[in-house]
Symmetry: C2
Subunit: 684 residues, 2 copies
């Protein structure tokens, strides 16, 4: 049976299907206010947009929002799990126990976190086009990067903002976004993981659901709570079923504009190996955690992230293995190619689809080696990542800004330095586990005769090598990292740290692979994508939205459940359901505080809710807003059908999931006694 699918890029030619779908991750400069007014009778005007945009916050991989004038930030619990883990130890875990600062002075520094607010957006498409005009793919790729680096730097110097180049429509548009960046972010409140992620991995991407997946951070400036000009008001009543709602946030990445050959490449080249490795690592973590409570504690956060990613990738693969949907993609692509060929203004377009297919073939031939030596599949270890950043950072910083690898440009350096300086715990047992694992798989997939494998494992096993590298390295100490970072090339050359030596010895080979990838694959694909984007603009204009790129978007929809076969899924759950679902065993174990408070709690309090907003990972922590711009929820997940939203939006089944504000208030009040925060949230 064919499903009803409205998918980006298809709307212009199929307006009747598109009209029904509350689909789209719209940039703030191109929000379809007219359509919203027409369909829902709601007026989203410029003042509304400006207020919400400046109250929306970007965190590492997540979204959040200001909810008080004193810089209080609302986000998900799972968006602060790294901060919780960084402030934990083998002996005690804030993930397990939760955290409530006794007062603002006790708020806890999240040393690797920053908070960004988007304050300016400048279209630089023409500058980029001018810089690459007439160049071949490889030269254009270099020129494009050089130009973006220069524009970012000039922007930062003139504005004092954090400036980042943004690619929209797969190269159809380039923007320069300017953020106000807060580099001092502290934790005010997080519940126990037992209630924040009640149901754990089995319930992840499921609904109905009972997760208090929320937390409160605070932005600081000059050591004091930041005074922010814009913040959102929380409406603790939440929304009604069917109510018009919006989500402002930073969806991470979608692939709805990819060509068929790119989808096939994901299906056959990228996803299967990554799923196999991830599954094995999951097994290693789980078995490791059984050995002791300390092991359980220190592996909880990485295991959580891994399992989340596995479920996503598993459903992505399922989607791409669905022949009906792939057939639909093929037909749409054929239609776009046909329309493009018929348009005189697109003469000279060439065949970008074929160019991409050929580049993908070259990618397939190198993907394995690239993944292990330059990508993240080999040398899976935090210490090694430090070492590589130190070794490359020293070499790159000695070059002119425009000639560096993009992650080491002047505008990128402060964030790198912050990460080097962050005093996060590094557990040798875990480091050895992941490094040994990745070395063993590197030997399997590259083969024992690959020169790197042969040299590294000439007399070592993956276990013995990992152990000596981890235990011999001093990079777990932030002071040592900073010493090497500040010391530059001389300090790196002089270092006998085994991780530094390893990173040094690999660098020439892995840089060469990266160069080959950039020239033979990336350069060709980027150029071809720009041409496809041009065709799409000529044919469809900007009545479509760009793929997600972890940049700020706004979308709309309504509070609603869906039909799952015979079953109607209602859009709200209530607190009583959590107690009914509890088994006394993790991850279905209600934390002690909640057991103790049960009699005080209103069990009919709404807990989670579902809407048809079009969101993906990166939107985690986004405020769910009503027409007045009040917060009526915090997004934390999608249902299982939302995962294929990477490729197409299934209007019938794709649903997003939020924490209802009534349960925050109930919890902060009766479970945690967080009176000061309740006052600040105006929740009394």
């Amino acid at each position: 049976m064919r499903r009803v699918i409205a998918a980006l890029g298809f709307c212009a030619s199929l307006a009747s299907t598109c009209g029904q779908a509350d689909e789209g991750m719209w940039t703030y400069d191109n929000f379809p206010s007219a359509k919203v007014r027409e369909t829902y009778g709601v007026d989203i005007d410029q003042a509304w947009l400006d207020q919400v945009r400046q109250s929306t916050v970007r965190l590492s991989g997540c979204t959040a929002s200001f909810v008080s004038p004193d810089g209080l930030i609302l986000t998900n619990h799972h968006c602060v799990s790294s901060c919780l883990a960084e402030n934990s130890s083998k002996e005690s875990s804030l993930l397990e126990d939760g955290f409530l600062a006794a007062g603002r002075e006790q708020e806890l520094r999240c040393s690797t976190q920053v908070a960004d607010v988007l304050v300016s957006m400048e279209d630089i498409t023409s500058q980029v086009a001018a810089a690459t005009q007439g160049l071949d793919d490889v030269a254009a790729n270099d020129a494009r990067k050089r130009t973006l680096t220069a524009l970012e730097k000039a922007c930062e110097e003139s504005s004092g903002l954090k400036c980042q180049a943004v690619t929209l429509y797969d190269g159809g548009q380039y923007f320069l976004y300017g953020y106000k960046r807060y580099t001092d972010v502290r934790l005010a409140f997080a519940p126990e993981a037992g209630i924040a992620a009640f149901g754990g991995d089995p319930d992840n991407f499921q609904f109905p659901r009972w997760c208090l997946d929320m937390s409160l951070l605070r932005a600081y400036e000059d050591g004091a709570p930041a005074k922010v000009d814009h913040h959102l008001k929380v409406n603790f009543e939440g929304p009604q079923a069917g109510e018009f709602v919006l989500v402002s946030g930073h969806p991470g990445s979608t692939d709805r504009l990819l060509t068929v050959s790119q989808l096939e490449s994901l299906r056959s080249v990228d996803l299967p190996p990554s799923l196999l490795r991830g599954s094995e690592l999951r097994g290693r973590y789980i078995q490791f955690a059984k050995d002791s409570e300390a092991n359980q504690r220190i592996s909880a956060d990485p295991l959580f992230g891994l399992e989340n990613g596995l479920k996503v990738r598993r459903k992505l693969l399922d989607a791409l293995l669905d022949e009906d949907l792939m057939q639909e993609k093929r037909e749409r692509e054929a239609s776009l190619r046909g329309d493009a060929a018929a348009l005189a203004s697109l003469e000279g377009l060439g065949d970008p689809w074929q160019d991409i297919a050929e580049a993908n073939q070259r990618y397939a031939d190198m993907a394995n080696e690239y993944g292990f030596l330059e990508g993240g599949a080999g040398f899976s270890s935090r210490l090694f990542r430090y070492a590589r950043a130190l070794v490359r950072g020293a070499a790159e910083r000695s070059k002119p800004d425009g000639e560096r690898l993009r992650e080491f440009t002047d505008t990128a350096l402060p964030r790198l330095r912050q990460q080097m300086a962050a005093p996060v715990p590094v557990y040798p047992e875990l480091e050895t586990l992941t490094l040994s694992f990745s070395l063993e798989r590197m030997r399997e997939w590259l083969g024992p005769d690959h020169p790197v494998v042969r040299e590294l494992l000439a007399t070592d096993s993956p276990d013995t090598l990992a152990s000596s590298l981890v235990n011999g390295s001093r990079l777990g100490d932030s002071a040592e990292r900073l010493r090497l970072w500040e010391g530059g090339q001389e300090a790196i050359d002089a270092s006998d740290d085994p991780m530094i030596r390893l990173a040094r010895s690999l660098d020439e080979r892995s840089r060469a692979l990266r160069k080959r990838y950039e020239d033979d694959v990336e350069a060709v694909v980027d150029n071809a994508e720009e041409r496809i984007a041009r065709a799409r603009f000529e044919l469809y204009g900007t009545e479509v939205y760009p793929d997600a790129t972890f940049t700020l978007r706004l979308n709309f929809g309504t509070v609603q459940g869906w039909q799952e076969g015979e079953r109607s899924i209602e859009p709200f759950t209530r607190l009583e359901g959590a107690y009914a679902r509890a088994t006394g065993q993790a991850p279905f174990q209600i934390p002690d505080r909640w057991i103790a408070a049960r009699d005080q709690l209103d069990l009919s309090t709404p807990f989670n809710l579902s809407t048809n907003n079009d969101i993906v990972g990166g939107n985690s922590g986004s405020p769910l807003l009503n027409a007045r711009g009040e917060v009526v929820g915090v997004m934390f997940d999608g249902n299982i059908h939302s995962i294929s939203g990477a490729y197409w939006f299934d209007t019938e089944k794709n649903r997003s999931v939020a924490v209802h504000p009534a349960i925050w208030r109930e919890a902060l009040d009766k479970v945690y006694g967080a009176n000061a925060l309740l006052e600040e949230l105006d929740a009394r």
Copy 2:
């Protein structure tokens, strides 16, 4: 680039391609002797076939051959790994240490092993056709099974042989095969796993290679070595490069005749979940093994089997994700369908391809639940498998033979009883590991709200439930198993063993699933496959060979390497290469005995060799034969390209791998001092 592929079922219409390929797994009654004579000038006559057939032995999942008149059996080391594990303990492992019986009296019973020799083959296609004539799919499926059960039983009663019904050409032919069965099989010699599987998983399915993957068993009758009428002579010189060679054995399973929708179903429904689960279990085993030497010892055999299966399935998925090859399959199928539609004699064939596609859709909808509750994905535990066989066995044995599940017919019972009685070690730690793992995945994939999951884990976690089931069960004791087996329904009803109770409580639901699968999927597919087979016979005759079904086959080819990109792979390796490859760390660690014997050994002794024979799993242990019917190797693997041989035979790259007889002689003589065996093998 399209590869040159000759694949079964395509040959008749493409004789020019086929003529070049030494492809095919031929039944002994249909061996293409004329083609062999014409191409290679070698005469494989009936006497040759009879002698080799009666010297070829079938083991559990493997092949072997008689190599002395006293019942000495040559096979692979990995074909006796279960026997080695069953005779090991936490404290010492025959897998690690190897085994050489001091004399025949010290040969070691392999208590779950049998050895079968094929002595009769009767075509029963017409009886099956008569029994199913005019019935609908479901009734025909039942009648087919009933008929096969009755024919097997009658055969055993009249012949005294072990009789098994065999399906060829996916239902195009049915045969009744009669085997002489030896139920007392003992181990005479096995080398250390360190040399038998030198290179371990990284080198598995690779070539060049250095594995002494051979062992010697002996068949016994009435407590004494069996006197066999037929055995093969070993030619310790081995073959020359380019020499014509044959392989006699039992290839397990190929899917070359599957329809496109069946291949797509494997690709999207079966392989991905099985790979994900297998990869995670691999991680759990590996981490478990790091905890202690005992853990390492008891997990080595299951890990070996798992990793082998993972590599196979990974490459099967890769093959099915190859769009060029799938396109080829689509075109071939379209051509067969077109030819069939045009042939008057095939009027009334219907559309079996569409029938299969629809059955596959029904399968996709139930595969997850079926896999966990009735297939092997859930309740992964040896103790549970005993319990299910005991519970079902009691119920089934109370029914008439023809109405039972096929695995419990009268002819199947002796083997089941043997397995119940076999005193194999059961390790609670491993049982708990696998059972907890499978319960956790069942909860993930069926969801916490599936009634079975909800009931089993109402107050338990996968860990606590697995632990109480395993530690509470007495089914690890063979005496207790036999008591329950012999006690029948009454003993089962009275048992309070937790595994028995679990199997009882699941049985109604899982039987219902099985019935639904048999009626809605299997019955339809079997009928449709019979019709496709009929079309193929009408169009192509039996100039093609049937898919492998773990029944006896003979194939031919030559000793040769292949071209891997720029690299020419030579067909022989030599002993010196093993020492050069050693790192001192498992799995590249040469066993101590071999280090000590190094100076005595002829380092130029041929070790492994590659040929282009068309084999798959199940052929492990098969004798490699020269034109005179002498053993010139024992097959133990294929190269990495051989795995896609499940779907098509790649003449350019598919190669099989054997252990050269010269290395056996060198090892038995100078490393192990196995003088009596050398005499018996006539190796002096």
